[in-house]
């Protein structure tokens, strides 16, 4: 009996699934990776958008409420990125046509972008060959997901971010961008 089964084993030893199966499996794999990347980017976009709102909206609110304006809504910490720390409060509002208005309105200085370092999004990424950086607006909650402190009230605020997408379409790292005023 074992000899007969050995014969069957020998005949079928090299049989395997056809190339069409491999093509279908790899198509599904790529689609899955695309979907996952999109999910991560959407989540990151939502989080960074919330962060940007936090960085912009709260200083205004704070400057109206208290004389020493709060420089940022984000909780200060040693890990705090420059981008979040250097959000300056807006100037106090002035009345149009008042005596204090200067004769020549000063041109607004161009805003200089301030970015954090890239923060990895994958624990053990596959080897990096090439990629591209996508600028997007994400909620501030994204900053919290990578360990940056954001106050609860501003998790949904928008923040600009650069997402580094690798050759396989996966989001590998993110950095947050703000502007000096």
């Amino acid at each position: 009996m074992r000899e007969l089964l050995g014969l069957l084993k020998e005949i079928d030893r090299d049989r395997e699934a056809g190339p069409a199966v491999e093509a279908r499996v790899l198509d599904s794999f790529r689609k899955l990776q695309r979907d996952r990347t999109l999910c991560r980017i959407y989540a990151a976009a939502a989080a960074v958008a919330a962060g940007l709102l936090a960085a912009v909206a709260i200083p205004r609110h704070a400057s109206n409420a208290t004389p020493p304006p709060i420089r940022s809504t984000l909780v200060p910490s040693p890990q705090m990125p420059r981008a979040a720390e250097e959000v300056a409060p807006p100037a106090p509002p002035t009345l149009l046509g008042s005596a204090h208005e200067p004769a020549h309105r000063a041109k607004p200085r161009p805003r200089a972008p301030v970015a954090t370092d890239f923060i990895p999004l994958m624990d053990s990424p596959p080897p990096f060959e090439r990629g591209e950086i996508l600028r997007m607006v994400v909620p501030a909650a994204t900053m919290r997901t990578v360990g940056l402190p954001v106050s609860e009230a501003h998790l949904a605020d928008p923040v600009e971010a650069d997402v580094l997408v690798g050759q396989e379409g996966l989001a590998r790292a993110i950095r947050f961008v703000s502007y000096e005023q």
Binding site: L5, L7, D14, R15, V25, M122, P125, P126, E168
Partner: protein, 180 residues
């Protein structure tokens, strides 16, 4: 060379080359297991495809301490196979036409014998069939087969003995019919 666990980890992180390498390494045994269990190339290819797609979603459950990746894949494939052959009164397909014009008489006889064995295996109850396919056709150890079939090693041994006995009966009667 990376271990299969490392390759799986990289594949789950999105590394297509690691996933492709794993596929090339493991699709043959999965396909043959499904083929010997179902007797249908089409169904075996479906099972192979579904097994590797399931690996992408269930791969994080793989624990190298509990067995190798091959056993893990056989386990997934087995579920796919049982889902397909359960509840539809299993009918073994007719033998495949494998003879080519240059086949010699000896080759024809050999192939005829192999077809008889293949059909006999396909008519075994599923529990016996999977024991024979894993241990006798795919060289799984009793321990590996027990892990895949989720039963004690002793059960694998007894199913295997019973399966071989049934196969011998079936082949004897087939030969008797052929010779009559």
């Amino acid at each position: 060379m990376a271990s299969e666990a490392e390759m799986l980890s990289r594949a789950l992180a999105g590394d297509e080359r690691a996933f492709t390498a794993l596929y090339h390494l493991r699709q043959g045994p999965v396909f043959r297991f499904a083929l010997h269990m179902t007797g249908s190339v089409e169904m075996a290819e479906d099972v192979t495809q579904e097994t590797f797609l399931a690996l992408l979603s269930a791969g994080r459950r793989f624990d190298p301490a509990r067995g190798n990746l091959g056993s893990f894949l056989y386990g997934i494939a087995r579920n796919q196979i049982l889902r397909r052959i359960d509840g539809r009164g299993f009918q073994p397909p007719p033998p495949e036409e494998t003879a080519s014009p240059e086949d010699l008489l000896e080759d024809l006889t050999r192939r005829e014998t192999v077809d008889q064995v293949r059909r006999a295996v396909l008519t075994l109850p599923a529990a016996y069939r999977e024991a024979v396919v894993l241990c006798d056709l795919e060289d799984a150890s009793y321990e590996e087969a027990a892990a895949i079939l989720e039963c004690p090693v002793g059960t694998v041994r007894s199913r295997l003995n019973r399966a071989r006995g049934l196969l011998a009966q079936k082949l004897r009667s087939a030969k008797w019919v052929c010779n009559a």
